[in-house]
């Protein structure tokens, strides 16, 4: 088995298989910024249609559409504009608030929701750039949360140092959980998709076990699978006072974004990461140790995802956590990374957008009665449109990249087959 990864397989069939997987991954993750923006736009349009269809006023007026069609149009406009306006006011700026400090609160909520999404998105995006699909966000977050949380409630250290040690413990936990994947891929050729999915379950049941074990993560004197509250010395301080939920974890995420930008664009390790991600064969011929790159990349990816877990337990939910602490962020991060085209600042922006969806979704449900599921559908549609660049290009008559290149018969064939795969 081992030489499957060591040497690029010689057989044409197996080579094509991994080539195609690689190419598809590159196509989906490397699309243009325009595709991302249009995908969000189209998803919002489709979301608007869904809002209109499910709105009672619209359904009512549709009954007498032919006698008074303007009623229907008015109802559609009211439903959609109301919902999206509520979404905006819940996510960015509340016009109905009495003063500026209250009106701006939704924006800080958005940033709070965005914090773990950005961190985990950076981790998944980094793995994308190295040609790997890290679906193990859940496991990496849980292990990181467990490690950081344990340090935060069980160890007593001076303020400041305690927080830093707790963060480092979390990053280390995530790095180990991700590094295992890299190690298995490098040494045995195990596919990272399978391994990360399986390790999600291992992490989940491990954390559940520890949460039920007194002396481990379970709160003393309690029968619930829940940890005690974090010690105040290990909690992220609020950024703008107790009035807002936004905490200093957001600063760690900004730092992480800068770090990933430096790593990928300015460091030689990142150069090797990208080389392996784009063409592992050429990287190997150029003397780059591809196995080590897989291990380092997965460890760093795991640490970044772990930062999301750290932010959850030390920032958002400091009163103790259970095994649901990951809150699906590990999976949302895949969407964030895709939407951000695996570029650090793209992920940063995409994370804030998704944070806005989360923050605004609740407001939309409360104010207009539009189910929050609509937001989930919009998120899913964004992924769908990003994964199908030809569809978006066709909708907006964008040129297909590469059409000005010298065409040949076989290149035409290859391109069509890729598009089929991408769809």
């Amino acid at each position: 088995m081992s030489d499957k990864t060591n040497t690029p397989p010689v057989g044409p069939a197996s080579k094509d298989g991994s080539e195609r997987w690689n190419q598809t991954l590159r196509d989906i993750t490397g699309g243009s910024a325009m595709i991302s923006i249009l995908a969000v736009f189209v998803a919002l349009v489709v979301g608007a249609i869904l809002i209109a269809f499910t709105n009672e006023g619209v359904q009512e007026t549709a009954g007498y559409f032919f006698s008074r069609p303007t009623d229907l149009l008015q109802a559609v406009w009211d439903a959609v504009a109301g919902a999206y306006s509520a979404l905006f006011q819940g996510a960015i700026y509340n016009f109905r608030a009495d003063n500026f400090l209250t009106a701006i609160r939704p924006l800080t909520e958005t940033l709070t929701f965005a914090t773990p999404l950005i961190a985990a998105g950076l981790g998944v995006g980094l793995a994308f750039r190295v040609g790997m699909f890290n679906i193990g966000g859940r496991g990496q977050m849980l292990i990181a949360a467990g490690a950081a949380g344990w340090v935060a409630f069980a160890v007593e250290l001076p303020a400041g140092i305690h927080l830093i040690v707790a963060i480092l413990a979390g990053l280390l936990g995530g790095a180990i959980w991700g590094g295992i994947v890299g190690l298995l891929k490098a040494r045995t050729g195990a596919h990272e998709v399978i391994v990360t999915i399986m390790l999600n379950f291992v992490a989940l049941y491990l954390i559940q076990f520890l949460l039920r074990t007194p002396g481990a993560l379970q709160a003393p004197g309690s029968n619930n699978p829940k940890t005690p509250a974090m010690l105040p010395t290990a909690v992220f301080p609020d950024l703008f006072g107790p009035r807002y939920n936004l905490h200093a974890g957001f600063l760690t995420v900004i730092a992480a974004t800068i770090f990933v930008w430096w790593l990928l664009d300015r460091s030689n390790l990142g150069f090797q990461f990208r080389a392996v991600g784009q063409n592992p064969n050429a990287a190997r011929v150029a003397g780059i140790n591809v196995k080590n790159v897989y291990m380092y990349a997965m460890a760093i990816s795991g640490a970044l995802v772990g930062l999301a877990g750290v932010n959850q337990v030390l920032g958002t939910l400091t009163s103790g956590f259970s095994s649901g602490i990951d809150a699906g962020i590990g999976f949302d991060a895949i969407t964030v990374a895709l939407l951000g085209r695996s570029r650090p600042w793209g992920i940063f922006a995409a994370g804030i957008l998704f944070g806005a969806f989360k923050a605004g979704g609740f407001a939309m449900q409360a104010a207009e009665g539009v189910p929050i599921d609509i937001v989930v559908v919009v998120q899913a549609l964004i992924v769908l449109f990003i994964a199908a660049p030809p569809l978006v290009r066709a909708m907006f008559h964008l040129p297909t990249p590469g059409t000005t290149r010298k065409p040949r018969i076989h290149s035409v064939k290859v391109r069509t087959s890729n598009e089929v795969v991408a769809k």
């Binding site: 150069f271 784009q278 064969n281 150029a286 140790n289 000005t404 010298k406 065409p407």
Partner: protein
């Protein structure tokens, strides 16, 4: 059937791939279409085959204007294509491949393979191909696979056959046989368009020659024209076809390979007990038909193969068993045979590709940081020195032409301090102008006292560059002969016959 193209113009955005091209192929004529890579030959043929729709111009068959919306229309009109990369299904039999896309069925939708077999036999007998209709494609040699492509085209009653670079994958013997087949086909009234950039073949088989450069017809030539005339027409300037080199200045053994064997990932012995020396200041060419162990041999030299036995010593220091990184650092320069797959990263810029194998230390990296300023300066220098035609050092390597991509690889490898230079298929797929450039660089490298190994399946190249020639067949070195060994002898050695004078050259 007479084929006529009138004023064909095909544009891709701002790029004019074909500009007002007119071409007439009489019935039973072999018409060679000669041009460098990127001159627009393939585009023109794709227009003819219905894969592209031309913006202007028309296609006439026997003076009737044709409209092709796709390859199906072209095939029905009697145009057949033998592709450069065979379009065959490896796990299907010859008969199954021949009927693929035009399957005839009997009652209940069952495939009528006996009719297909009969058809294969009939065509095969007519041209003396000797092909078993039930053989699996993957078991057949490349030359025979090409005949299956020809049969496939003829079974659709093709009256015009287009051969797109048909000799790129063939041995010299197979090439000669293909020429005979083409003459036979022409004699039976088939019109043939023969696309190539190999001058010798054109002169051997063509009745008429049309030369294309930058999408425009630049002239017609007769087969009696000299190579130099054809080449200068193709490139647009006088071209040096023979490589000028002095006698090698030998400076002692640098690379010593002893009893080297390589076992590949499918547990096959692909290099079998090979021994040879290379002296500093000479070019050892490794000749042989593709797939006889040359690729694995060069990969073993670079540490890319896992299961290698025997010894490799460079300047007295062992190389076998070390990492690629260590071997590169020992001064081995390597031009891989598949430049797009192993030599370059298509999505990386030229500058990034130029530092690809030096990503771990000075001068491109300091304290973990890329030295972007140094890299840009280095790239600008190399682009100038190697005449890499590009839109600057930040242009993606994948958008360069094949010749310029190879220049990037050469620039990267030759800008290190070398103790050994290994070039595998250094001019595969390159045009005449680039071949000249690459050959000159290789001889310059040799003359600077560096031992050079050139692996090539092209006899022309082997003969032009080599001081000594090692011929490989089925993983073994059949013999090592002097550089001036006649082609006929080399051709025989390439199919496994030992040369009489083998020992003398060792």
């Amino acid at each position: 059937m007479k084929l006529e193209l009138r004023g064909i113009t095909k544009r891709f955005g701002a790029l004019v791939a074909n500009n007002n091209i007119s071409l007439t192929v009489e019935s039973g004529e072999i018409h060679a279409l000669l041009g460098e890579n990127g001159a627009g030959k393939s585009t023109l043929m794709n227009v003819l085959y219905g894969l592209y729709i031309a913006e202007e111009g028309e296609i006439l068959l026997d003076d009737v204007v044709q409209k092709f919306a796709g390859p199906g229309d072209a095939m029905n009109a009697g145009i057949g294509m033998v592709h450069q990369h065979f379009m065959l299904v490896p796990v299907f039999t010859v008969a199954e491949n021949v009927v693929l896309g035009h399957e005839q069925t009997t009652f209940g939708g069952r495939l009528d393979l006996s009719a297909a077999r009969a058809k294969v036999r009939e065509i095969s007998d007519r041209f003396g191909f000797d092909i078993d209709p039930d053989a699996l494609i993957e078991d057949l040699p490349v030359g025979v696979q090409q005949r299956v492509e020809i049969i496939k085209a003829l079974s659709q009653d093709a009256k015009v056959l287009v051969f797109d670079e048909p000799t790129a994958v063939l041995t010299p013997q197979e090439t000669d046989e293909l020429m005979t087949i083409m003459r036979q086909l022409a004699a039976s009234g088939t019109s043939i368009v023969f696309i190539t950039h190999k001058l010798r073949e054109v002169r051997a088989v063509a009745d008429r020659i049309t030369v294309i450069r930058l999408g425009t017809v630049v002239g017609e030539a007769s087969p009696t024209a000299t190579n130099a005339e054809l080449a200068s027409l193709m490139v647009g300037r006088a071209v040096e076809l023979t490589v000028h080199k002095n006698a090698p200045e030998l400076r002692g053994t640098a690379l010593a390979v002893k009893n080297l064997s390589v076992i590949d990932s499918r547990n096959q012995i692909v290099v079998n007990n090979v021994s040879f020396d290379v002296q500093a200041g000479e070019v050892l060419a490794i000749a042989g038909v593709q797939g006889n162990g040359q690729t694995e041999l060069t990969e073993a030299l670079l540490g890319l193969q896992q299961h290698v036995t025997g010894s490799i010593e460079l300047d007295g220091k062992p190389l076998r068993g070390y990492s690629v990184r260590h071997i590169l650092d020992s001064g081995v320069g390597f031009v891989p045979e598949d430049r797009t797959e192993d030599g370059l990263i298509a999505d990386f810029s030229i500058a990034e590709n130029l530092m690809l194998d030096r990503s771990s230390g000075a001068p491109f990296v300091k304290a973990g940081n890329l030295q972007l300023g140094f890299r840009a300066k280095f790239a600008a220098e190399k682009i100038h020195e190697f005449d890499i035609r590009s839109q600057g050092s930040e242009m993606e390597a994948g958008r360069l032409s094949g010749g310029n991509q190879q220049k990037v690889v050469l620039a990267r490898e030759l800008s290190r301090d070398l103790r050994l230079f290994v070039a595998a298929q250094p001019t595969r797929g390159l045009d005449v102008g680039s071949i000249e450039f690459v050959h000159t660089r290789i001889i310059e490298t040799r003359d600077s006292g560096i031992p050079v190994i050139v692996v090539s399946t092209e006899l022309d190249e082997v003969v032009a560059l080599a001081d000594r020639i090692a011929v490989m067949y089925r993983g073994e070195i059949v013999g090592i002969v002097p550089g001036n060994t006649p082609r006929a002898t080399l051709g025989l050695m390439m199919v496994g016959e030992h040369a009489p004078a083998t020992e003398a050259a060792l």
